[in-house]
Amino acid sequence: MHALEVKNFTKRYGKNLAVDDISFTVEPGEFFGLLGPNGAGKSTTIHAITGIARTSGGMIKVFGTDVESDYRDARRKVGLSPQEFNIDIFEKVRDTLTFVAGFYGMHGVERKKRVEEVIKRFGLEKHADKRFKELSGGLKRRVMLARALVHKPQLLILDEPTAGVDVELRHELWKHLQELNKEGMTIILTSHYLEEVELLCSRIAIINHGKIVKIGSKKDLLKDGKHLEELYLSITQSEDAAPL
């Protein structure tokens, strides 16, 4: 069973075609990178996987569960750390995590224990009783990750998780993500930091103008000794980039 199966997924906004009939799979335990310029369709694809966006065509399954027809079961399996802070800024960190754990059906001792676990994991102990709006940018990112993980998802989706984060914290977050992946969690990452994707991901897809133009293992894509940045620019700047 694939961790994620996207088959002929299409998304239109009115007459604008944002994602054009893309298909790909992600296997359990993989660290998968989804790259592309702004407006290429990365976030739209992520939104469709998580339920924020409706699909215009095709099918998406998370660990065998259809995200449209069986959406509640599919949602339980996914955790999302989005690009923008979509959180109640007046809520305290601990309360936010407690509420989110509750949405996923956790209760009582289990919920309390899990919330404290993620607070500890992301070094938020001193900030757990602060309101989200009182935190620095880096701490906010940590809270977003903690929120995405509080219900123990099987598939973690990270949309630009290190955007606006200083170098030290970025390295710290990388360490967290590598640990999670080692523990068996499947991770999908989108990022504009290509060195981040090159370091973390074992397989990469490049999406441009709503189509996947390159997909493969990092080893295969970079076999000529190229860096990901060179490959990425050669693909996205090439006007005749042939879609797969």
Binding site: I87, D88, F90, G102
Partner: protein, 253 residues
Amino acid sequence: MNWIGLQTFIWKDIKRFFRVAIQTLLTPWISATLFIFIFGAVIGQRVGTIEGIPYITFVLPGILMMNVIMSAFSQSSSSLYMHRFTRSIEEILIAPLAHFEMVFGYLSGAVFRGVVVGLGILIVGLTFGAVQMQHVFVFLVYLVAVSAVFGLLGLLVALWANSFEQLTILNTFLITPLSFLGGVFNSISMLPGNLQTIARFNPFFYFIDGIRYSMTGFHDADLLTGGLIIAGLFVILFYLVYYLFKIGWRIRV
């Protein structure tokens, strides 16, 4: 059914309005106190009685219902609109909550706030010696049912609105005028003949009339008609809001 998820949703919504209790609770209570004092205690002394009921006792149910309506409407509309505005609606959309549970969650918050505001005004009325209670059960049913209808209406407006200004339009141009014209301060039998007929097409008249009956025993309209109007509005609005959540209108991209 995700019971824990739903329970969490309701608690989160209730906590949100307690966080701004001055605005959500104290304001309607103070406003009601002023209305009761001016219209009941001051003007009421000159008016005397209506249908044998002291004026202060007669206007209290109307003032109570008007505030319940506004509170329930504000709770659901501001809650959902703020979720849309800050995009924290995404937190709810990616959670394993059914569309029915989302609607029920928002609605429960609205009903809870409506009931808390209503009971608070009842206490204010007691301090003025203005409270009669003839049918407690009918009173509670009206409190909950009317809160639910306006909670649903608030959700509808929050889905439709694209600005804070639009969010307040319905309150300013529909809810407030129709409440005042629905018999908050008077019996419709005091209106001229034609206006009496027109007033009977105002649904707010039935909401106020029902709660007035539960408290004073007096009613202008047929109670069954009032009950059917509330039930009918609830069913229609619930289905409409549920359908809009299901298709993700203005909440899913």
